[in-house]
């Protein structure tokens, strides 16, 4: 009898988590950003928090500069990581001495958390970091101040380094998996039809790996856009990425600031969601047209 409810019952626990924690959290956060504070009797909804962060003289510049910075860092990181990942996968899939070791080492940073990656970038790229010292040994610099500012910089370079370092293996492993399971036969076929290496790359490999790369890139973009710890470690006071600003505001004892922090978070979620959906729709159309 309860055959018919079998599938809903199987889905229920997972959907409960998603609906109550995820959607519930988002929904309640949205209400708070709209001024909903029942405990102090505030049940009138208003867009004041949004107005304040977007347009006020006090917070507007913080928001907009933060938005451009966050967008720049996310898009640049995603694009660079995807490109380098494809290149890496092409390098690693050939047979060569030490391939197994190289492939193993390639994946080694997958379990390393982003916070550690960020700290690692500090150790490597700060003005008294490892790279600077190597350069000094080679006579390029005489003091730490000579080394360019690559981390804790205004352009988010340090963050980009950190994200790219982490995400190249992430996307790369996916590309490798696709190539190894599907690639060989198609390539052989193309070869026997006269396609040279570049043509095979363009007409066989890229179409084959693009869906997987696109999916992974979406995850990477969403993650980097909403990341807190990496900008917190590698960023500067101004401009600050949006997540960092959001958290600062949220932890302010002033309830208005809290609502504003919440509003920035909602805006972050909205931007990512819209961009991702648009990206997916657009890329599906392009892929289908191919």
């Amino acid at each position: 009898m309860w055959e018919r409810f079998r599938i809903p019952i199987m889905l229920a626990p997972t959907l409960a988590v998603i609906v109550f924690l995820f959607i519930g959290g988002l929904g309640y956060g949205l209400l708070v950003s709209l001024g909903w504070q029942p405990r102090i009797g505030q049940t009138q909804l208003s867009l004041e928090a949004y107005r304040s962060i977007l347009f006020s003289e006090q917070h507007g510049p913080t928001f907009w500069s933060g938005l451009w910075l966050t967008l720049w860092v996310s898009i640049a990181s995603t694009f660079l990581a995807a490109s380098l990942a494809i290149a890496s996968a092409l390098l690693l899939r050939q047979t060569f001495i030490g391939k197994r070791a190289a492939t193993f080492l390639f994946q080694l940073n997958l379990p390393v958390p982003h916070i550690v990656a960020a700290i690692g970038m500090l150790f490597l790229f700060s003005q008294s970091g490892l790279l600077s010292r190597i350069g000094a040994q080679m006579g390029l610099f005489s003091s730490p101040g000579d080394f360019p500012i690559l981390v804790k910089d205004k352009f988010g370079m340090g963050m980009i380094f950190s994200f790219v370092w982490k995400e190249v293996p992430f996307i790369g492993v996916i590309v490798l998996a696709i190539l190894q399971s599907l690639g060989a036969d198609y390539e052989d076929l193309a070869r026997s039809l006269g396609a040279n290496a570049w043509q095979r790359f363009r007409h066989v490999i890229i179409p084959l790996v693009l869906p997987g790369v696109l999916s992974a890139s979406i995850l990477v973009f969403a993650f980097t856009f909403g990341s807190f710890e990496v900008p917190a470690i590698l960023g500067v006071r101004f401009p600050r990425t949006l997540p960092v600003t959001a958290v600062r505001f949220f932890r302010d004892p002033d309830l208005n600031a809290r609502a504003e922090g919440m509003a920035i978070s909602i805006v972050i979620s909205g931007i990512v969601f819209v961009l991702v959906v648009f990206y997916m729709w657009f890329s599906r159309r392009t892929i289908r047209q191919d």
Partner: protein, 281 residues
């Protein structure tokens, strides 16, 4: 003895191979470089610019970490307890959903799939902030349980995605065969279903563990300073200027994660099941 001249194709191949080798070496070096930086820093005591190698090594940072006043051990326990709890519960919760998605089609399936995957494209900050207020009200804020609950949000999509990939390649007729031979539901699960999905469970557990183990902002917002996991501790230590301590702590922090990866790497070669799931996003 005369050597026959190398044909231009052979030379081109040789050059290509050398370049290839260099490129691979460069790639691996770039990926391992931070590790070297951590190792040197963790044991450095006096390390002045522009020395490449510290002039004085020391085990101070390590003594501090494993010493009596260390907060590291406590933070490790907190991280582990939460991560293990999240891993076990996410697999138990996600397994039936994955089975439903992998084996059956039904009305509204695409919406369900989209819902379950949506936490991957919506940053967790807004969710954690939204939950924070209610968690305080319900007494969940500042507790390990509350933090673990929040960790489920980013974890569930990956667990369900991985496991449903496994079920998509699974033949449920094996279960019918077992039942036909006299196996009840529990015996069927134990002898037929579980061995077949076990590799997927390992991979899903790996994802769940790593995501929870690495979490900072969710723990920060819900834990409210009372739940100190390794990322929380590491974050504040990194701002403290003690690079040796920061480096050593980082190494201690990533060790269990790397270990878990290495131990489960056997099951990752069949990853195409899980990866195939990603292609569906």
């Amino acid at each position: 003895m005369t050597k026959s001249p190398e044909s231009p194709t052979k030379r081109r191949d040789r050059v290509a191979r050398v370049l290839h080798g260099l490129a691979v070496a460069l790639l691996i070096f770039a990926l391992l470089a931070p590790l070297f930086a951590f190792l040197i820093n963790a044991f450095a005591f006096r390390w002045f610019y522009p020395q490449l190698i510290p002039s004085e090594f020391s085990l101070r940072a390590w003594q501090s970490i494993f010493g009596p006043n260390s907060k590291v051990v406590g933070a490790l326990w907190s991280s582990a307890a939460i991560a293990i709890g999240v891993t076990i519960s996410s697999v138990i919760i996600g397994l039936p959903a994955a089975r439903a998605l992998g084996l059956y089609s039904f009305k509204g399936k695409r919406i369900v799939e989209f819902l379950i995957l949506s936490p991957t494209i919506v940053p967790g900050i807004a969710v954690a902030m939204g939950l924070n207020i209610n968690f305080i009200r319900w007494g969940l804020a500042g507790s390990h349980f509350g933090v673990a609950l929040v960790h489920l949000v980013p974890v569930m999509p990956y667990v369900v995605l991985t496991l449903s990939g496994v079920f998509a390649n699974y033949n449920p007729e094996f279960e019918e065969q077992a039942r036909s031979l006299g196996a009840g539901p529990i015996a069927t699960f134990r002898y037929v279903t579980f061995p077949a999905v076990f590799p997927g469970i390992v991979v899903a557990s790996l994802f769940a563990f790593l995501i929870s183990w690495s979490q900072y902002i969710l723990t920060f917002l819900i834990g409210g300073g009372r739940v100190v996991t390794m990322p929380i501790l590491l974050f504040s230590t990194s701002a403290g200027g003690n690079e040796a301590l920061t480096a050593a702590m980082s190494l201690v922090f990533i060790a269990p994660a790397v270990l878990f990866l290495v131990l489960s790497s056997r099951f990752l070669s069949g990853k195409s099941g899980a990866i195939g799931g990603f292609g569906k996003v």
